[in-house]
Amino acid sequence: MRNHKIVHNVCPRNCYETCSILSHVENDKLVKVEGNILHGYTRGRLCAKGYALTEYVYHPERLKYPIKQFPRGSGNWQRISWEEALGFIAEKIIELHDRYGSSLACGYNKYSGNIGVLHQATEGMFRGLGPHTIAQGDVCLAAGNDALIYNREKVPFKDPEDMAKAKGIVLWGVNPARTATHQWFFINKARDQGAKLLVIDPLYTPTAAQGDIFLQIKPGTDGMLAMATLKILLEKGKLDEGYIKEHFIGWETFKSYLLEEVELSEASKITGVPLEGIKELAALYESKNCATWVGFGLQRYSNGGQTVRVIDALVTLTGNYGEIGGGIYYNNSSGIFPINLKKFPRPPEQEKTKERIVDINHFASEVLALKDPPLKLLWIAGRNPLTQDQDIDKWHQLFRQLELIVTVDMFMNEIAAQSDFVLPAATFFEDYDLNYSYWHHWIGINQPAIPPYYEAKSDLEIARLLTKELNKRRPGFSSFPAERTALDWIEGEFTPEVLARLGIKNWRELLQSPRKLIPPSEKSDHQIHLFSQKAKEGQLPALARFTPPLSNPSYPLRLLTPQSLSRIHSQYSNLSWLDFGETSEEVEMNPQDAQARNLEEKDTVLIFNEGGTCERKVRLNKYLPEGVVLASQGGQDPINKLFTGLKADMGILTGGMPGGAYYDVWVEVKKND
């Protein structure tokens, strides 16, 4: 083979797995990808999406050049040079600064399209402008993170590879058959040694199908299931009260709450889980070293944080923490890298006023309310808010006030189509990056395998170029250190602590192979707060206890929108290799719910609520709970139109804003004649 080389890449998708990839390149063309056996978590394998990456890189719809549209939304696109595009944008930024006396009229909405460290360059580029408008918050998992902090003062750092050593495994509202396929190696290792697998979910997912035991539960009632399980164990004398009294704050209050307020038959009614099923769960926690993996879905409710607090109470009160395999698994954002792109020093005049923060979960509505100055320039990167946000209608209102919309993307997606400029983004095969996972503990350096596709550029290159254009026009306007290269930034992330935890002297050792972080030394004698003063101060229930989920009298059906197999949110929807028949054109319904509305398979229906209306085709699913309908994310007629004003109970501590209660959506469905 001529000019064949193998390059190390790391998949940067917003996914548990952050796979290590060996890219086969021939004559500067990516011809094949495979997993890297030196990566101890992904172990030489990729997922289906990973194996489709050659199709992704050379997809015929990939954007090749910067383009400009006039008028906005007309589809009248014109190719322009990078210099022209960035020059125009730079002039606009400077003009807005002169008009309003700061860069607060400029802002970005950027999220998880590429979660590599260097993709924080967009944030850095704006930081260089001085005070500006930032979308902040955590769309995904902040409520659960806060919950664990209220209980434990920190989110436990668990090694998912250790799940192999558990004696029992509870997958609670998590669907690794769709979202974390590599974890099955470790789950199955435990099962081969006799561990029972119990799955709890409102949906009969492929993961539920794997379970030796499956408990189907009514959405949002998981906290009650955990309370009932604890009550059974307490009454059977299976909780070690001597130990508990020493290590748990608020045990007496919690105990009397359990004894007086939790009633098993009532709990069974609320959760829909028969008593016998609750007892199965109790039996698993009775035997020690039980692993509990809490998914992100169950904290996307108005009571989501509380739910996680109670599940964690079950895990800890049964003594399931501190051991190697057992305990709670949620997420492992190590926070170990300094992320200098967001911290570089700025001149004092840029530090005089603060950044303006907008909640990313309610971005469009909050921005519409901003004055002095209003937002005028919006930069979108790594994100498609027109399919993924709440309050999509508000976005269309927002467009009217914006004088410039710039989108950086690989494809002409829904938000790009509404922009003035679209800048072609490089894939991760085309530049350096530094990647860590929010799940496993392996760190890798992503290296350029192929030259950039036509004129595509990474977020960092764009930041550097735009900064130069700004400073060329007005010296010193931006303080972003544009001279620093990707490798400079990577090097800067390797503090002595990081190097020590990786057991290396020089970060360049990572160019040869990914490495695993040595876990931080943990105090094992810390206390668990069943009663949290901090929660009370945050206007939340102080006690970890079940709070009922919301319901909506006007719309009887709860809409759930879980992750699909072939996509990461809005990404990959155009790959033919990943066409497994999943579609955003259907709504799944229980046959009873369909019958009650005179609906049959394949009927065209309208799903609607106060937020809007979407058209879908009915697909009957006998495993769906009554009162629950299912749709997938993305598409031309995005289901998120029906999402409005959803806030989880927690999230401020770790995300700066409450999490999004994406599963507290109620709708009605009717035939579309």
Binding site: R45, A48, K49, T181, P202, I213, F214, E276
Partner: protein, 193 residues
């Protein structure tokens, strides 16, 4: 010279999570045309999945029916099609119970799983097997398989009597399911297979 063997697959329905990694890994390895899927993952009953490719049968119908004699059955059990000899008549496509031969519209000829023959030469397992995260799909030599612990077929798998496919399965066990208890109906627990 290939050794006499019976190369094939061992599949564990209970471990297959339907993740399609095997299917896409095959495309990544063999660069099959759009729509041509040498390995396919299909949905079965009760949340189960099957992953099916060519089974390199002992009595390959494809081989028997092909008017161009495009098929060969090797001593190691692998069944290959020489697509250059294929006239595109689709006889094998219809004859194979597992939809293994796939007609490539663009090239007007049929192709199918070749058991990753190039990888075999390098001593590497098939790409689909490497990709499987759950251990559900394994490549084996049926000559060395302890037949007692495995079964010849599972519910939902096409009829094996015509071609004697080189695939074996792990038997399925029962599982406990606690379906949602609705206020009206009292039916709850059941065990399915």
């Amino acid at each position: 010279m290939t050794k006499i063997s019976t190369k094939g697959f061992l599949f564990n329905v209970e471990r297959c999570i339907g993740c399609h990694a095997c299917e896409v890994a095959c495309k990544n390895e063999n660069k099959t045309a759009p729509g041509v899927q040498w390995r396919r993952v299909t949905e079965g009953e009760n949340g189960t999945y099957h992953s099916i490719s060519c089974n390199h049968c002992s009595s390959p119908e494809c081989f028997r029916v092909c008017p161009e004699n495009a098929y060969i059955k090797r001593r190691d059990g692998i069944v290959l099609i020489d697509s250059n000899r294929c006239a595109g008549c689709n006889t094998c496509v219809q004859a194979c119970p597992y939809h293994a031969p796939q007609f490539d519209l663009h090239q007007n000829r049929t192709t199918k799983c070749n058991y990753c023959i190039d990888r075999q030469r390098e001593g590497l397992p098939p790409a689909c097997v490497v990709a499987c995260p759950s251990g559900a799909l394994v490549n084996i030599d049926l000559k060395h398989l302890p037949l007692e612990s495995t079964v010849p077929t599972v519910p939902g798998f096409p009829d094996i009597r015509i071609t004697k496919p080189s695939i074996r399965f792990f038997p399925q066990k029962g599982k406990k399911r606690y379906w949602l208890k609705e206020e009206k109906s009292e039916s709850t627990k059941n065990t399915d297979l």
